[in-house]
C-alpha cells in the first residue's frame, strides 16, 4: 500500500490543488462522488488568510494540448474554510491535505497553526508558487527564503508539510533542497508555467489578468524534467504532476522519481480521470517495476 509521509493511501493518484471541488462535485453528481472517489487523497483548493473573490474574467483560455488559467485563488478565507468547507471535506473517504498560501511568514504561520490543529487534516501543502496572485512573495523562487519559511513553520505542526514548487525558475532542485533543509516532508511539482495568449479576434490579451498559468499535457515534458532534477538533488518524497492524462503518463512520473502523482487539468475533461489513471497505472505496473529497478541501478 502506497504511503506519503506516514499517510497510507489506496493508490498513487491524488488531485492537483485547485482542480477539483469535491463539494461542488457532490452537488452535481450526488453521493456517487463519495462512493467512487477518484483520488487516494484530496488536496483542497489553496486557501488564504482572508477571503478572496478571485480574478476578473476572462479566466481561462484553451491552448495547444493545454490551457491557461488566471483564477486568482478565490476562496472563503481561513475562517470560512474551517467553518463551512472543512466539515464537508471531512466526509470524503480519503485523507485530506489542505493547501495554504500567504504573503508573509506570520500569515503562513497562522494558516499552518490553525489548519494543523484540526484532526480532519492529514497534511498541509504550502503553495509558494501561484503565478496568478501578486503576492510580493518570492519565497518559492529562492532556496534560502524557502528554507527560512520552513524553519518558521516546521515547529508549528506535527503534520506533514508539502512544499509546492514553482516551475518558473532556473533551478527548482535548489529550491527543493532549501525546503528539505528547512524541514519539509515532501515537495509537489509542477505548478503552472507562466504564460499568456492574445485573443485573435481582438489582438489583446486573452485573459483579463494579462497572463496566467499553463497546464495540461503541453507541460508534461517540463514537469518530468523538473521532477527528475528535484528527486536527484533532494531526498524528499515528491508528488509529480503536470499534464498527466493516463496511466502511461503517471508511470512516466513514477519512473522519474515521484512517490505519488496528481491529476489536474485532465479532471476537467474527465471527472473520474483520477480513478481511470489509477486503474491504468495498475495495468502498467510491470513496466513501472522495470523502470524503478533501472533507476536503482543508475
Amino acid at each position: 500500500m502506497p504511503e506519503l509521509c506516514g499517510i497510507s493511501l489506496a493508490h498513487r493518484v491524488i488531485n492537483a490543488s485547485g482542480t477539483y471541488d469535491a463539494i461542488a462535485a457532490r452537488q452535481v453528481f450526488g453521493d456517487a462522488v463519495l462512493e467512487e472517489f477518484p483520488f487516494a487523497a484530496f488536496v483542497s483548493k489553496t486557501i488564504t488568510p482572508e477571503p478572496r473573490v478571485g480574478n476578473a474574467p476572462r479566466r481561462i483560455w484553451e491552448t495547444p494540448a493545454g490551457m491557461l488559467n488566471s483564477i486568482g485563488l478565490p476562496n472563503k478565507g481561513l475562517a470560512g474554510f474551517l467553518e463551512q468547507d472543512l466539515p464537508r471535506l471531512a466526509e470524503l473517504p480519503v485523507p485530506l491535505i489542505v493547501s495554504v498560501m500567504a504573503t508573509s511568514r506570520p500569515e503562513f504561520a497562522k494558516l499552518v497553526e490553525a489548519v494543523g490543529a484540526r484532526d480532519e487534516v492529514a497534511g498541509i501543502e504550502l503553495n509558494v508558487s501561484c503565478p496568478n496572485v501578486h503576492s510580493g512573495l518570492i519565497v518559492g523562487e529562492q532556496p534560502a527564503e524557502t528554507e527560512a519559511l520552513l524553519e518558521t513553520l516546521r515547529p508549528l505542526t506535527a503534520k506533514p508539510l508539502i512544499v509546492k514548487l514553482t516551475p518558473n525558475v532556473a533551478d527548482p532542485a535548489a529550491v527543493a533542497v532549501g525546503a528539505e533543509r528547512g524541514g519539509a516532508d515532501a515537495v509537489s511539482l509542477i505548478n503552472t508555467l507562466k504564460a499568456s495568449a492574445f485573443d485573435p479576434a481582438t489582438g489583446t490579451p486573452a485573459l483579463a489578468a494579462g497572463h496566467g498559468g499553463l497546464s495540461g499535457p503541453a507541460v508534461r515534458p517540463v514537469a518530468v524534467q523538473q521532477l527528475r532534477a528535484v528527486t536527484a538533488a533532494a531526498g524528499l518524497p515528491a508528488i509529480g504532476m503536470g499534464g498527466i492524462a493516463s496511466g502511461v503518463d503517471a508511470a512516466e512520473f513514477l519512473a522519474a522519481g515521484a512517490t505519488l502523482v496528481a491529476v489536474g487539468t485532465e479532471s476537467f475533461r474527465d471527472p473520474k480521470a483520477g480513478s481511470r489513471v489509477a486503474a491504468e497505472l495498475d495495468l502498467a505496473r510491470p513496466k513501472e517495476a522495470t523502470a524503478h529497478s533501472a533507476l536503482d541501478l543508475e
Binding site: 485547485g18 482542480t19 477539483y20 471541488d21 463539494i23 461542488a24 462535485a25 452537488q27 452535481v28 453528481f29 450526488g30 453521493d31 456517487a32 462522488v33 467512487e36 483548493k45 473573490v53 478571485g54 476578473a56 474574467p57 476572462r58 479566466r59 481561462i60 483560455w61 484553451e62 491552448t63 495547444p64 494540448a65 493545454g66 490551457m67 488559467n69 483564477i71 478565490p74 495540461g216 487539468t265 479532471s267 476537467f268 475533461r269 474527465d270 471527472p271 473520474k272
Partner: protein, 287 residues
C-alpha cells in the same frame, strides 16, 4: 448575501458521475445550424436550461491543437429512445470545437458529462399568479427554449415565443425544434418576420395587455440578453436568462466560468447557473 441560485431541477436529479460515451443517432442541417442527436443509455432526462459537456471520442484535437477541453452545449430537445434517452443539440460552428460537433456522423461516439447546471423554473415558481411565459431567443440561443416551450405546453403554461436571427445562415432550429408551435420571428436582414431585433417584438409585447405579469425566459447573444434584462427591469417584469461563459469543466472544478454578481463577487455559472434571474448578475457577460 448572494441571491439564492435557481435550484437544479428536481426532475433531473444528480448527473451520472463521470463522462460516458454516447452514440450519434442523427445529424442534420437546420438552417445554418446543425441538429444532432445522441443516445444516452445512462442519463436522466434533462430539464430545460441544462447543458452537457461534449467532446468527440476520437479526433477531438484536430490539427494538433484545439479543441482540447470539452464544450458546453445546451440540450435543445429530449425524448425516450429504444434504450435510454435521446438528446438533441442545436449547434453553430463558430470554432474548432463546435465545427467538430457539426461534422459528427451517425455511429460516432461522443463523451458526455451531464446533465449539468440548473434549469428554468415555471412562472408560478418565479412569481405567484404569473400570467404565463414569454420566451425570447436569439440565434443559437433558441436551443434551450425549445425544450422549455414543450415542457410549458405539457403543463398548460401559456407560452408566447419570440425568436430572432441575424440572417439566413445564422438561423436554425425553427422547423426541427419549434415546428409545431406558433412563433413570432424577427431577423436583422428581414428574411423572415419583423426586420429588426427580437427585442423590438418583446418591447411591443411588454407594452401591451397582461404581458407585464408574465415571466420572460431568454437565451441568446450577450447584447440581446442585456437588452432583455433592462427591458424587463424597466417594466418590473421577472426574467430568467440562460447565460454563457467560458467553461473548462462544467461541474464546479475549475472556477473558470466566473460571472460577476451585483455585490462584487463572482458566481460559477456552471453550478450556480447557467440560468440566472435578471437581478442576480452585475451584467450579462460576453461569454
Amino acid at each position: 448575501m448572494d441571491p439564492a441560485p435557481l435550484p437544479r431541477s428536481e426532475a433531473a436529479g444528480p448527473a451520472p458521475f463521470g463522462r460516458r460515451p454516447c452514440e450519434v443517432s442523427e445529424n442534420r442541417a437546420s438552417g445554418g445550424y446543425r441538429v444532432f442527436s445522441l443516445l444516452d443509455r445512462e442519463g436522466p432526462e434533462p430539464a430545460p436550461g441544462q447543458f452537457y459537456m461534449l467532446a468527440t471520442e476520437r479526433h477531438w484535437s484536430e490539427r494538433g491543437e484545439r479543441p482540447f477541453l470539452p464544450r458546453a452545449i445546451s440540450v435543445a430537445e429530449t425524448g425516450p429512445a429504444a434504450a435510454g434517452v435521446r438528446l438533441d443539440f442545436l449547434v453553430e460552428g463558430v470554432g474548432p470545437g463546435t465545427d467538430r460537433l457539426c461534422e459528427l456522423a451517425t455511429g460516432d461516439r461522443v463523451w458526455v458529462t451531464g446533465p449539468l447546471g440548473n434549469a428554468f423554473s415555471e412562472p408560478r415558481q418565479v412569481r405567484p399568479g404569473a400570467a404565463g411565459a414569454i420566451l425570447v431567443g436569439g440565434g443559437i440561443g433558441v436551443a434551450p427554449l425549445a425544450l422549455l416551450r414543450r415542457r410549458f405546453g405539457e403543463r398548460n403554461v401559456p407560452v408566447r415565443v419570440l425568436l430572432g436571427f441575424r440572417d439566413q445562415t445564422h438561423s436554425g432550429g425553427l422547423d426541427d425544434l419549434f415546428g409545431c408551435c406558433e412563433v413570432r420571428l424577427a431577423s436583422e436582414d428581414g428574411h423572415a418576420g419583423h426586420r429588426g431585433y427580437v427585442t423590438d417584438l418583446l418591447a411591443a409585447m411588454l407594452a401591451g395587455d397582461d404581458a407585464g405579469s408574465a415571466v420572460v425566459y431568454s437565451c441568446g447573444p450577450p447584447a440581446m440578453l442585456e437588452a432583455v434584462r433592462s427591458l424587463c427591469a424597466g417594466r418590473e417584469v421577472a426574467c430568467q436568462l440562460a447565460l454563457e461563459s467560458p467553461m473548462a469543466c462544467g461541474f464546479g472544478a475549475c472556477f473558470g466560468c466566473a460571472v460577476p454578481k451585483p455585490d462584487g463577487g463572482y458566481m460559477r455559472l456552471c453550478i450556480d447557473g447557467p440560468v440566472v434571474r435578471g437581478d442576480q448578475v452585475a451584467e450579462v457577460p460576453h461569454a
